[in-house]
Symmetry: C2
Subunit: 369 residues, 2 copies
């Protein structure tokens, strides 16, 4: 089990990652929860699979209140946040009460937002149960809910006190989800960590098969890579924007698709491929492009949704990470190095999108299950 | 015009206070708004009185979108926050968009919360139009909305980039509101600033008459006193709790009263009197108690609501600033010095409440208008 720390303006997050992380965290979490009112947030599906793992941790709490949200994106409605707030108030939640999230990225986002806003912020712990949440969503204090107008439009930066990323909970995670989560690992390696990138190359086939030992070995390094960037730029004003690699197109694809056919990580996978295409226009290294395409090749992706370049362009213009002047692109220059580009001419981008859609139509690799 | 600064973990707030503050702020606010999408939040009443004051400030903005919320506490419903979020998203709000609040404490609380949560936080300015908001609510980054279960149960710490406290906007403020706002000034002086307290004593009669020149003279010192405390303890974990002086009873009175007859400042006025009573039980200085009662005496208060000690006790137990162990009291020890007390025996407190209600029944001083 690796013990990592993420320092932020209000203190620090302690992160435990690797086989046995839950057991290793038990004593400290018990102390943290001792005598407190504790809220746990999960979904009925995840709670059925892994809820028992909370029992030992919360045993010393004065009171424990279990709250469940729906699976998937519908957890992140304003009405769900309001339901949580009301339940926490009704149960007598105080500023020194605690919250634990047990679930994937949507549960973590909702729970983090509720913890960050209830009584102007209570401490919380993230116990992510998907690979994507373990390496990305649970790290760095971003929390959010959705509006009708778009995903993640409302949220706060609120760092958890604890993150426990134990690969044991990934045993129940479908192969397709494992592969989707790996896209965020590839993203951070390509954007910022050449050593991690090389490790991914060395294990690519096993990772693409969803081998849990191979996956377990890259979780802590991926978290560490993200910590380094978040500590440099906690509020995402410069360096942290590199983590948006693959997401400018990815978010637009998800939105244009109505969040119907692609997992988030899969949309990022397509976004990585498009970012590599753009890198050729900004003197990105051809060798880095080749290595990245080779690393991605054993990971199948579902077909691109049937969208036009114009659809995608409209969604990108609304991207919340854009400036008033338009979308910002993260473009790989070398393995481990990316540039932020906000001055692509709209005509060139649309043409690139058209060509990309044309050349990439059809699924990539084996049909995913 | 006094120029003050409040440093916080993400930067600093610049505060301009005194006659002519709006004019003095114009050039800098224009630069801050130049080329941006700007949202203004007010109420129809305040906008009719003072909305024109925004025109020069926002002239260089690329777009200006005016949003109004209801007057009073109903501005702070979850549904109002949701309406603002949706309107900001629909208008294409980005992370570098800006928000300006123009109004009293409820408009500032709602606007600050919307600014603090939209896209995980955009910059905003507070232009408070009540004395209470100028000296207290707009200072220190506390934002909040209400739940059915209680006031201010959901919020974030999100500091404005600018606060402009210009007494010119108080000309339209009713005398009763001026007096209520002064209770927060008395509170901070009694809790933390002996020099301000002496200045209040010297001008007590004029302040109680609502004299705007006298009031204007104490705004900047009151803000400065609050800044000192907030900078010491931004998240209200120790020193800042002193600003809760008068509020443990005050909040319970407001809640037991259904927010019907007392203004917030008036509830705090009653709370200050009760805190002075408790100070006798903790060896608070008798001289300080006499001075504080003398300072408060020219300020009339509406009658205590018809509530029992037991009612109040029930509301206090739910106070969100309490710990799992119960309510925390701020008790004056000297002029400018207060102690946090969390170990009053419940029986003693109930008895003190009973005696207080008995001895203080009926309005204090002249009927307020």
């Amino acid at each position: 089990v690796q013990r990592l720390r993420l320092g932020h303006s209000l203190g620090q997050t302690t992160l435990l990652a690797g086989d046995g992380a839950l057991a290793a965290a038990a004593a400290e979490l018990q102390t943290w929860l001792h005598g407190r009112r504790v809220f746990t947030l999960s979904s009925s599906k995840v709670r059925a699979l892994h809820g028992h793992r909370l029992d030992a941790l919360t045993a010393p709490a004065a009171t424990r209140v279990d709250l469940d949200a729906p699976d998937g994106e519908s957890a992140k409605r304003v009405s769900e946040a309001e339901r949580l707030w009301a339940a926490m108030a009704a149960a007598g939640g105080k500023r020194d009460s605690r919250l634990i999230t047990l679930g994937g990225g949507t549960i973590g986002d909702l729970g983090g937002f509720a913890a960050g806003t209830f009584l102007r912020g209570i401490e919380y712990a993230q116990i992510p149960t998907t690979l994507l949440a373990q390496v990305d969503a649970a790290i760095g204090g971003k929390t959010a809910i959705d509006l009708e107008a778009g995903k993640n439009l409302v949220g706060v930066f609120h760092h958890p006190t604890w993150v426990v990323a134990d690969p044991a909970v990934l045993e129940t995670l479908p192969l397709r989800q494992r592969r989707a989560g790996m896209m965020e690992v590839v993203k951070i390696a390509l954007a910022a960590d050449p050593a991690l990138f090389a490790a991914l190359e060395a294990a690519a086939e096993r990772l693409a098969e969803g081998d849990l030992d191979a996956i377990a070995a890259v979780i802590a390094p991926a978290i560490q890579a993200k910590i380094r960037i978040v500590e440099k730029d906690p509020r995402e004003s410069h360096a942290r924007r590199a983590l948006n690699l693959g997401h400018t197109l990815g978010h637009a694809l998800e939105a244009a698709d109505g969040y119907a056919t692609l997992l988030h990580g899969e949309a990022v996978g397509w976004g990585l491929r498009f970012a590599l295409r753009l890198s050729a226009r900004r003197e990105g290294s051809a060798g880095a492009r080749q290595r990245a395409l080779a690393l991605l090749s054993p990971f199948p992706l579902p077909a691109l949704p049937a969208v036009t370049a114009e659809d995608l362009w409209q969604y990108m213009k609304r991207d919340k990470k854009g400036r008033e002047s338009g979308p910002v692109w993260v473009v790989p220059l070398e393995v481990g190095e990316a540039a932020m580009v906000d001055d692509f001419a709209p005509d060139i981008l649309r043409e690139e999108l058209r060509q990309f859609i044309e050349s990439e139509s059809g699924p990539r690799g084996a049909a995913s299950e």
